[in-house]
C-alpha cells in the first residue's frame, strides 16, 4: 500500500473499523512512516476537538413533564366516532344559539310539510288501487314481498311504488349497518342485546359461544347479502301480481 492509499484508510483505522488484516498492515506502515504517523496524530486531535467542542443542548426543564403529559393523553381511549349525520346535526345545532334555532326549525318544518304535501298528492294520482297482495294478519311478510301503496310501513312512499327500489332500499339499509359495523358492535349491541331472536333459531355453536351471539344478527345479514345476486336475479313475483 502507498502512503496515499494508507491515508484514505486512516479515519476508519482510527475508528477501529478496519478488518484485522488491513489493520496489521497499516500499523506496520505507521511504524516506519513519520508523515502517516503525523496524520494519525492530527486525526486524533480533530476527533478530540470535535467531541469536546461540538455544541450540545440539554432538554429544557419542562421537557420531561410535557412528555409524560402527552403520553397520558395518548393512553386515554379515543371517543367513539359519531356518524356523519349525527355529527352534522350536532355541529349545526352547536353553531346556532337558542334564538336562532327556533326560526330555523320552523323554516325546516314548513319545507318538510310542503314537500310532504306534493309527494302525497303525486302519489295519489299515479298509483292504481290493487287487491289481493295485502298480507294476512298474523302472517310474517317475507323481505321481498311488495308493499301496497298506502299501507302503513317504515318504507318511504316513493320506494313503495317500485319493487326494485324497495329491494335496494332494504339492501342499502343493511349495507349502511355493515359499514358502521364497528360502531354497532362497540356501542349498540352491548346495550341492546338481540332479544328478538328465538333461542331455537340460533345454532348450537353460537349459543356455546356468547361472543358469537353479539355478532349473530350482523352475521345473519351478511349471509343474506351473500345471496344478494340470486335474490336480485330472481323474477319479482310480487311485482307481476302487482301489475296484473
Amino acid at each position: 500500500m502507498t502512503c496515499e492509499e494508507i491515508r484514505e484508510e486512516l479515519v476508519a483505522y482510527c475508528d477501529g473499523e478496519l478488518p484485522e488484516e488491513d489493520r496489521t498492515q497499516i500499523t506496520a506502515h505507521l511504524s516506519t512512516c513519520s508523515a502517516c504517523s503525523r496524520e494519525v496524530a492530527q486525526l486524533a486531535r480533530i476527533n478530540t476537538l470535535f467531541i469536546t467542542q461540538v455544541e450540545r443542548v440539554t432538554p429544557s426543564p419542562e421537557f420531561t413533564a410535557t412528555f409524560w403529559q402527552r403520553l397520558e393523553q395518548e393512553k386515554r381511549p379515543a371517543p367513539v366516532q359519531e356518524g356523519r349525520l349525527v355529527r352534522w346535526w350536532r355541529e349545526w345545532r352547536e353553531s346556532m344559539s337558542g334564538w336562532q334555532l327556533a326560526p330555523a326549525l320552523a323554516g325546516a318544518a314548513s319545507i318538510l310539510i310542503f314537500f310532504g304535501y306534493i309527494v302525497s298528492d303525486r302519489g295519489s294520482e299515479t298509483t292504481k288501487p290493487t287487491t289481493g297482495t295485502q298480507s294476512q294478519p298474523g302472517q310474517t311478510r317475507p323481505i321481498l314481498t311488495p308493499v301496497p301503496p298506502g299501507q302503513s310501513t317504515d318504507v318511504p312512499a316513493l320506494v313503495q311504488e317500485k319493487l326494485e327500489l324497495f329491494v335496494n332500499y332494504r339492501v342499502i339499509a343493511d349495507l349502511e349497518k355493515l359499514s358502521r359495523f364497528d360502531e354497532i358492535a362497540a356501542v349498540q349491541l352491548p346495550e341492546d342485546p338481540p332479544m328478538s331472536i328465538a333461542e331455537s333459531d340460533i345454532p348450537k355453536d353460537v349459543l356455546d359461544n356468547p361472543g358469537f351471539f353479539a355478532n349473530y344478527p350482523v352475521l345473519q345479514k351478511m349471509e343474506e347479502l351473500k345471496n344478494l345476486e340470486t335474490v336480485l336475479d330472481a323474477p319479482p313475483d310480487g311485482d307481476e301480481k302487482h301489475r296484473g
Binding site: 484514505e8 479515519v11 476508519a12 483505522y13 482510527c14 475508528d15 477501529g16 473499523e17 478496519l18 484485522e20 489493520r23 503525523r38 496524530a41 492530527q42 486525526l43 486531535r45 480533530i46 476527533n47 476537538l49 470535535f50 467531541i51 467542542q53 461540538v54 455544541e55 450540545r56 443542548v57 440539554t58 432538554p59 429544557s60 421537557f63 420531561t64 410535557t66 412528555f67 402527552r70 403520553l71 395518548e74
Partner: protein, 205 residues
C-alpha cells in the same frame, strides 16, 4: 487503535430493558427515556439546527417507542433502533419544508465578519482566559462546519463520534451500506480537518 466490538442484540442491556417494557414494565420505559433523552435531543438538534423542534421531535420519538412496544423485535442494538426512528422523524420534519434547516446557536453570537478565522488563530502565548475564548471560537467553527456538511455526512459523523455507533450501526440507521458510511465519515472528517486546520496545525508545533 482498538477494534470496535459488535455485541449481539440479546446481549445489549437496553434491549433487555425494552423487552421488559414490552412485558409491561413502565419502569423499564422510564429508564430508557431518561438514558436516551439527551442523545436523541442532541441528534435532532444537529440534524435540524433548532432546539425547540429537536425537543418536539424527541418527544414524538419516545411516543412512537411507546406505541410500538408490542411490535418491537430485538434485531439490533436498542440505540440503533431508536436512532433509526429519530432519523426518520427528522427527515420527515425537513421534508415538510415548513422551515429552513439552520443551526441556531445557543452559545453567544459570534461575529460573522470575514476576519473571524484570523482572530481565532490560537496564540502560543495565551493565558487561561484566552483558552476559554479559543474553545468558544472552536465550538462556533465546528457548528458552522457541521451546518455546511451534507445531511448524510453530518448524521454519519455525529452518530459515529458522539453516540459511539459502529459503521454497521450507522449504516442500519441511514439505510446505506457500511462502505458508504466509511466514505461519509471520511469526507466529513476531511471537512473538519480543512475547517480546523489552523487550530490543529498550531497544536502541532
Amino acid at each position: 487503535m482498538e477494534q470496535k466490538e459488535q455485541i449481539a442484540p440479546h446481549e445489549d442491556p437496553d434491549v433487555q430493558l425494552m423487552l421488559r417494557f414490552q412485558r409491561g414494565s413502565q419502569e423499564a420505559f422510564q429508564q430508557l427515556f431518561q438514558k436516551y433523552t439527551p442523545s436523541v435531543v442532541n441528534f435532532a438538534f444537529h440534524f435540524l439546527g433548532n432546539r425547540a423542534r429537536a425537543e418536539e421531535i424527541t418527544q414524538e420519538v419516545f411516543l412512537q417507542v411507546y406505541r410500538w412496544q408490542q411490535r418491537y423485535e430485538p434485531k439490533a442494538k436498542f440505540s440503533t433502533w431508536l436512532f433509526k426512528i429519530a432519523h426518520n422523524h427528522c427527515l420527515n420534519e425537513v421534508r415538510k419544508g415548513e422551515y429552513r434547516v439552520t443551526v441556531e446557536s445557543i452559545s453567544p453570537k459570534e461575529d460573522s465578519d470575514g476576519d473571524e478565522r484570523e482572530r481565532e488563530l490560537p496564540d502560543t502565548h495565551h493565558d487561561k482566559g484566552e483558552d476559554v475564548l479559543a474553545a468558544k471560537q472552536a465550538s462556533a467553527r465546528i457548528t458552522k462546519i457541521l451546518r455546511r456538511l451534507p445531511e448524510t455526512q453530518r448524521t454519519a459523523l455525529t452518530l459515529s463520534r458522539l453516540e459511539g455507533l459502529s459503521y454497521q450501526e450507522v449504516a442500519e440507521v441511514l439505510g446505506v451500506t457500511e462502505k458508504a458510511v466509511k466514505s461519509l465519515v471520511f469526507r466529513a472528517t476531511q471537512s473538519l480537518k480543512d475547517g480546523l486546520k489552523d487550530i490543529v496545525d498550531a497544536y502541532d508545533l
